[in-house]
Amino acid sequence: MSLAEETSTTAMALKNRNLLLGGALTAVFLGAALLSFLWVPYDVTQLDIANKIKGPSAAHWLGTDHYGRDILAMIMVGARTSIAVAVVAVGIGMLAGVPLGLWAAARRGSLLDEVIMRGNDLVFAFPSLVIAVMITAAFGPSATNAIIAIGIFNIPVFARITRSGALTLWSRDFILAARVAGKGSARISFEHILPNVLNLLIVQGTIQFSLGILAEAGLSYVGLGAQPPIPSWGRMLADSQTFISFAPHMALFPGLAILLTVLGLNLMGDGLRDLFDPKLRRGRT
């Protein structure tokens, strides 16, 4: 990659408003989660009933909830829960889905390819959140079960995107060269195919990450995600419902946290796709 090309990528990234805005929102969210390890305004496991349901003030920037807990602290620590669930869920999806996709592409057209992809279709055919509810209901509500449930539904997403990306690569000359050089399909898959589908995976990973956060919030909302006292945005929303008419701040801030984070990740995903996609890139310049 020449120097000119590199600057143009940076310049394009800077010009890409989606990427900037999305990146900024994501940075704020990640920053809040990281900061919560070092400092939170109040201990979220400590209740302060005397100060319950207070609106935003100098002492509590975002107000307090129905147990007198600081909502800012809850959102910061809740971000940790969201990230943990989303990261591991995307991780499960990638670790299982990408090798499956590579394998299927390497044996494209074979029975194995059929089995893998139809299996993926089968998982894909179920509404993911409904199955997640089923899994957590069967094995007990907890953050771990929520992670597993969301993770399983990420597998076919990554398997498909990897396979479709890999299929177009398998017909390219440099792969042919690698085969002529005597490399086996497993080695080709990991040494040549994988690096070339990586940008696809990063874009999809960002999107899945935001879906993971949304799914975690949804499961927590119905009481199947992280259990108290671990703060979770979804449960904060659920808890605030009966207070909404006289203490709207209790619902507003966790709601905004979910909205802005998911928006940020989606914008960033779009931005990254624009940046990585050579066709779009050529079309722009």
């Binding site: 209740l47 009933i49 147990y67 007198g68 007990g140 509500p141 009481g223 259990q227 008419s245």
Partner: protein, 491 residues
């Protein structure tokens, strides 16, 4: 086209008809019963539907908890207090058309006290020696020992009179003698009752009544605000009461229940088999914070398993005052490794879920770390309450009246086995002298408080929200019941 419009208008008018006439009532409740047989289950949700509405007993509770005549219009008690002669009401019929007679009373009581009885409150009938039908309108009950509470016991929802003809289907199609007949049950949604036109006594003022089940407090609030339901008995979100109170469309009734809300500890296994640990829990609990945080200030602190409005109540809250330092010292004395990890199982009612979060935070402050598990009602009944007793801590309100004797049952989910306490309860069962009874009750309360058997939290209040114009609902809940026989719309 015109014909079509008028047909639509007619349909609309027909649909709107009963609402305008206001002779029906929709009452929302939070918990749906597992079935409708009050004589074979402990679930209060059953009595909330059937008590006084569908089924009646020889005696019945009034809105103030007094014991009034029911299917027995009068009775005589022999000199020695052993024989009760009940004179039954005339002209009473079961909803299936069969006559209510003395043989039905014999059948019901014998069934409840029999060897294979599945009655949840068998102790109510334990003192009965024999039941015989003197003539179709007279029943003679002989007790093995005088029992000052016998008429009180016969008023319980578990002692209602059922008919042998309809007993087989009682769980799904209850047939009683009450002012309402069972009309239908849409599982997961509602149970409907219809006025009994042949009722023997004062007929119901409503033509139809529906119990609608809304477990989610938010949905309950919305249903009430939208006018979908006419009343919500035991409204689960106390934080919304001021709003209803301020709204001229609604009224809020605040009353008492017989519900001792406790943090039950499993006395049958580690670590709560150790009294020192239980005492540590008791001192770690700040009742006022729980009442303020979970109940928004509604609720009376209790220090033992007894209703504060009962004249025999002893205030023992001082024995388990909030003292986290003492709690920590007790845990050290008990020699348990800190943090002490335990499981806290919470059933759906909001007092349990919210109270649980607060109690958990208070326990964490002294080094006990409860892991909260929120469970559904059926799961709680099955795993915690009924068979397995697989729990460490749980929060629940015991809403039966005078139910302190539950602690005398070593197989109960408390797993509390204290012969001295059982002895007091056995004495109480046969004692009819009010002064001695009072002493026994007081010593029983003290024993429970001094043994720290459970964490005693607060007496559950009853919050009823109703549309303005709905009259006759019970303000208090002296027994588990939603008596609709006296409910009407103010015209």
């Amino acid at each position: 086209m015109k014909a079509k419009i008028s047909a639509v208008a007619l349909a609309a008018a027909m649909a709107a008809g009963p609402v305008l006439a206001q002779d029906s009532l929709t009452v929302a409740l939070q918990l749906e019963p597992p079935h409708l047989d009050p004589t074979s289950a402990a679930a209060g949700a059953i009595d909330q539907v059937v008590y006084a509405n569908i089924f009646e007993g020889l005696t019945r509770f009034g809105p103030d908890g007094s014991v009034n005549p029911g299917l027995a219009s009068s009775w005589e008690i022999s000199e020695d207090g052993l024989t009760y002669t009940f004179h039954l009401v005339e002209g009473a019929k079961f909803h299936d058309g069969t006559d209510f007679e003395a043989t039905d009373v014999v059948f019901s009581l014998d069934r409840a006290r029999g060897e294979d009885s599945v009655n949840a409150q068998k102790t109510l009938f334990a003192g009965i020696e024999s039941v015989e039908a003197v003539d179709p309108a007279t029943v003679k009950v002989t007790l093995s020992a005088p029992d000052g509470l016998f008429l009180f016991k016969m008023a319980w929802g578990d002692a209602v009179i059922v008919a042998p003809e309809s007993i087989d289907d009682i769980k799904t199609a209850p047939v009683g003698t009450g002012a309402f007949t069972f009309d239908g049950w849409v599982q997961g949604d509602s149970i409907s009752l219809a006025k009994n036109p042949d009722y023997w006594g004062e007929p119901a003022m409503l033509d139809a009544a529906t119990f609608k089940y809304i477990s989610d407090p938010t949905a309950g609030f919305a249903a009430m605000m939208a006018g979908d339901v006419d009343a919500f008995v035991a409204f689960p979100a106390p934080e919304n009461l001021p709003q209803f109170d301020a709204d001229p469309r609604f009224k809020v009734l605040i009353g008492s229940t017989e519900g001792e809300t406790i943090l039950a500890m499993n006395n049958g296994r580690e670590p709560f088999s150790n009294k020192l640990v239980r005492e540590a829990v008791a001192h770690a609990i700040n009742r006022q914070d729980i009442i303020d945080g979970a109940m928004f200030g509604y609720g009376t602190p209790i220090g033992t398993f007894f209703a504060p409005h009962n004249p025999d109540y002893v205030d023992l809250t001082g024995l388990s005052d909030y003292d986290p330092e003492k709690s920590k010292a007790l845990l050290e004395e008990a020699g348990v490794a800190l943090p002490l990890k335990v499981k806290m199982t919470l059933p759906p009612p909001s007092y349990a879920r919210r109270g649980g979060e607060i109690v958990a935070a208070q326990l964490r402050a002294v080094g006990i770390e409860p892991e909260i598990e929120n469970v559904e009602w059926a799961q709680w009944l099955e795993n915690t309450f009924r068979n397995a007793h697989d729990y460490d801590l749980t929060i629940i309100s015991h809403t039966e009246p005078m139910d302190i004797n539950a602690y005398a049952n070593p197989d109960y989910y408390f797993q509390y086995d204290n012969p001295a306490f059982q002895d007091v309860m056995a004495k109480l069962d046969v004692e009819s002298d009010p002064a001695v009874r009072s002493e026994l009750l007081k010593s029983a309360q003290t024993m429970l408080a001094e043994d720290y058997v459970s964490g005693f939290l607060f007496e559950l209040p009853l919050h009823t929200v109703a549309k303005t114009g709905v009259e006759g609902l019970w303000v208090n809940m002296p027994t588990q019941a939603t008596d609709l026989t006296g409910v009407y719309w103010e015209k």
